[in-house]
Symmetry: C2
């Protein structure tokens, strides 16, 4: 009995152990599967990532020829490893980032090398015992000063890496000088291998499927504007439909969520703009393309996104306002939202296709006239006297936020117009219009000089539409819009030439 029992217990243990092992194996299998599906997704999201990885591999393999190929090794020796290091550290995803790092590294190595050789010459004067003290002092001073310079915002933005390499090279060369007498050769070898590594990176990143930060910034700004457009085009229907069919199952509302990524895109935009400044002319972009203006357009877009964020809260609110009131303003509000959305869509398209954003003007005019209609509707006093103010509040807020959005849209349009003129976007030239209507130009000037304030004070434009005569936007060339519209829409949208 005892034996049987023991064997049963054993079998039980074995069975339990086996099932645990099976569970573990299954768990491991799912994890591995998840991992590989994630990796696949990562590659599919942006195939340029796969290409970039292969490019890095290629550059490293090329540079390691310095070790394998005897004649090359004879001239550089162990210094060849600097070329390998440079490739690993300098090769970045976009051409701009790679170029920026490469140039920073090259110039910093040159400057630091020259200074370090000088420091070494000075240190020698103080004798064998004094030399390390003087050298140590120099290293300390330059490291402290350069490190502090890295906190300086302008330096940090563009030359942070250069300062790092400056500290590195200066320390290495001046300190090595204490042991190595042929310091000039050391400095020279380091500089030339760094240059070889850096130029390998730059050449490969430009020649083989280049990824341009400028192009990415351009696309990001355009798609951010389009995300807001999607929201606004859908908002009116969504908000007023809800009153009619409450409790309906929520089907695909992803277009109402897209704007959320715009709220936090500042750091990404800033980084891309920084890289883009290093890039040479490429595709449709000149060397001195106005990247800064993209940042301004981006800031105004984000500003509009904040308003939309407030607006989106009213889609899910419990109290939706009195149906009669909603119905009364439904048409104008839907029109405001829809026309602002269309205007933004046209602006996004204008950026993407690099054409002047004339097509947006009609929609902006329409949204503004809808806002005026709303004003007169509210003024007209068509309301029954017994209304409950509590039920007006949500509807009034939506209306008011939509007026904000109309104003923000106009701000975005102005900044895009400015971008179009700075970057010479195609389309009918403004000059053919300006002799009769000089004011739009003037207006752009005003925006230009105050654009920094404009970003901060976008909110101050709110509800200025009601009075009609103070608004400077009445001078918009309404008649010219239809023709421009045709021209813009008949132009085929050119694809990105680079990818």
């Amino acid at each position: 009995m005892d034996l049987e029992c023991a064997s049963q217990v054993k079998q039980g243990l074995f069975a339990r152990g086996w099932s645990r092992v099976k569970a573990l194996a299954k768990n491991f299998k799912t994890k591995v599967f998840d991992f590989f599906s994630n990796v696949k997704k990562l590659g599919q999201e942006d195939p340029r990532r796969v290409v970039h990885s292969l490019k890095v591999g290629l550059a490293l393999t090329l540079v390691s020829l310095f070790y394998y190929y005897q004649p090359l090794y004879d001239s550089f020796g162990v210094s060849a490893m600097w070329a390998v290091m440079t490739v690993v550290v300098v090769f970045e995803f976009s051409v701009g980032a790679t170029l920026g790092k490469g140039v920073n590294r090259g110039i910093a190595t040159l400057l630091a090398g020259v200074l370090a050789v000088g420091a070494h010459k000075v240190a020698i004067l103080s004798g064998r015992i004094g030399e390390p003290i003087v050298l140590g002092f120099f290293v300390f001073i330059q490291a402290a000063v350069s490190t502090f310079a890295r906190f300086y915002p302008k330096m940090k933005a563009r030359y942070d890496y250069g300062l790092l390499i400056f500290i590195l090279t200066f320390s290495l060369i001046s300190v090595s000088g204490y042991r190595d007498d042929d310091l000039l050769e050391l400095a020279h070898k380091r500089l030339s291998t760094v240059l070889i590594g850096g130029s390998t990176c730059v050449v490969i990143s430009i020649l083989l499927f280049p990824v341009w930060a400028g192009q990415d910034l351009h696309n990001l700004i355009a798609s951010n504007i389009e995300k807001l457009a999607h929201f606004l085009e859908g908002f009116g229907d969504e908000y007023f439909k809800m009153a009619e069919q409450e409790g309906e199952s929520k089907d695909d509302k992803s277009f109402l969520q897209g704007y959320k990524s715009v709220l936090n895109s500042k750091s990404n935009e800033d980084a891309l703009a920084n890289f883009a400044r290093w890039e040479p002319g490429h595709g449709r972009f000149q060397f001195r393309h106005p990247w800064k203006q993209y940042q301004k357009v981006g800031a105004l877009t984000r500003h509009c996104a904040y308003r939309i964020e407030s607006l989106s809260g009213y889609l899910n609110a419990d109290i939706q306002g009195k149906p009669e009131i909603r119905t009364k303003i439904q048409e104008t509000c839907t029109k405001m939202s829809l026309e602002s959305g269309k205007a933004l869509k046209e602006l996004g398209l204008a950026i993407k296709t690099m054409t002047k954003p004339f097509a947006a003007d009609t929609h902006i005019e329409n949204s503004k006239s809808a806002a005026k209609n709303l004003n007169s509707l509210l003024k007209s006093g068509l309301w029954d006297d017994e209304m409950d103010l509590l039920e007006i509040v949500p509807v009034a807020t939506v209306a008011s936020l939509l007026i904000d959005v109309v104003n923000c849209t106009e701000e975005i349009a102005e900044s895009v117009r400015e971008l179009a003129s700075m970057a010479n976007f195609q389309g009918i030239k403004t000059s053919s219009v300006s002799p009769e209507k000089p004011k739009p130009d003037h207006q752009i000037q005003a925006v230009k000089s105050n654009s920094d304030e404009a970003i901060l004070n976008c909110s101050s434009f709110i509800i200025t539409i009601g009075d009609g005569e103070s608004s400077s936007h009445d001078q918009e060339p309404e008649d010219s819009s239809p023709t421009m519209n045709n021209i813009t829409s008949s132009r085929p949208s050119p694809r990105t030439a680079e990818v």
Copy 2:
């Protein structure tokens, strides 16, 4: 005459030239002056920058002793330069960043060294001609795979630098192996010098005036909440005062602008949270302090800032709404704004002093009852029948946005409460209250599991106050607040122990 004339012209030229030189000199002088005042400002803004720069200088000088001191040089030789490089590259502003980079570099060097030695052994098998081909293949594959891994978001967040160093070390050691037969010693020297450099950085950054990323994150979150509080405390007065004294010169309104920096603080918060996770326990923070919860609090704070951004637009709006209506809701709106502001101030203080945020509860209750009052005021129909709806809209919007803000404040309070319980903030323990009132705990649980959604759907809480019975916040221990309040305020605010 001609001569005189010529000399006059000469004098004229000279005078003009001289004045230009003087202007240039003056220009240069102002530029230099500007530069130095900027530098001074940079140091005064955060004196830790100066200290950090000196620390970097010290670490570098210490590490260069490997060159100067003969016994040390005997054992490491030229490899000592890896220690110098490591110090330059690894030493970051905060302890967390330095530790993260140091650990990444150390482990990556170890792993890559082991793998590279293995790869070398395999490559040798294929003969003198096959060796570089096999080695090149290995380098290509590992560089491509590791570079691709750097795109994986989780990898990028914590191990980006490690992957970079992995590529670097693997390439260097495996390629050097082709020339250097004593590969193990090379790998060993590189590893030990990297460890020496890394530990020098870590030790100096921890022992000498450490800058803790965790402490910075903690302060940033608290001060962001306080910035919103300043706005809200001032908003009511500012908005309703304006109606009375329009056209008044704008005196110091900086408290109304402070919230703007909150809008874009996400990237900063994310970076600090990432660094903080590397840090050991310090001051009032344990090793596994809930840094992630700070990010949640930060996200909700930003969410509230978006609402405030919309609200701030109405401070400068041209149409301010009918004075009578403004006067009617002035008291309740001012109270809502003020009490939300006070609640946020208490929440910020609770985080700063690391005490449980009981003091905020009273203010939240007050702001909620003010919101209820506003609702009944709006419902009461105390309005004359001839009112112009257009003039109600701005006031209604402000009221509605303030209700939003009250809700957001409550969300922030919940997340701070959660933080307080996760991080064991001081104060009267919840357990003494929970036997009678179990629901607040349950509530926190619910927030915990849904907090990611909560961040997205904060907006869905809008205008749920009106009905009164659906709100789960009625269970708040109102009676306990005054005592807690006393405890919190009598506690001296401890200063940062580290700086």
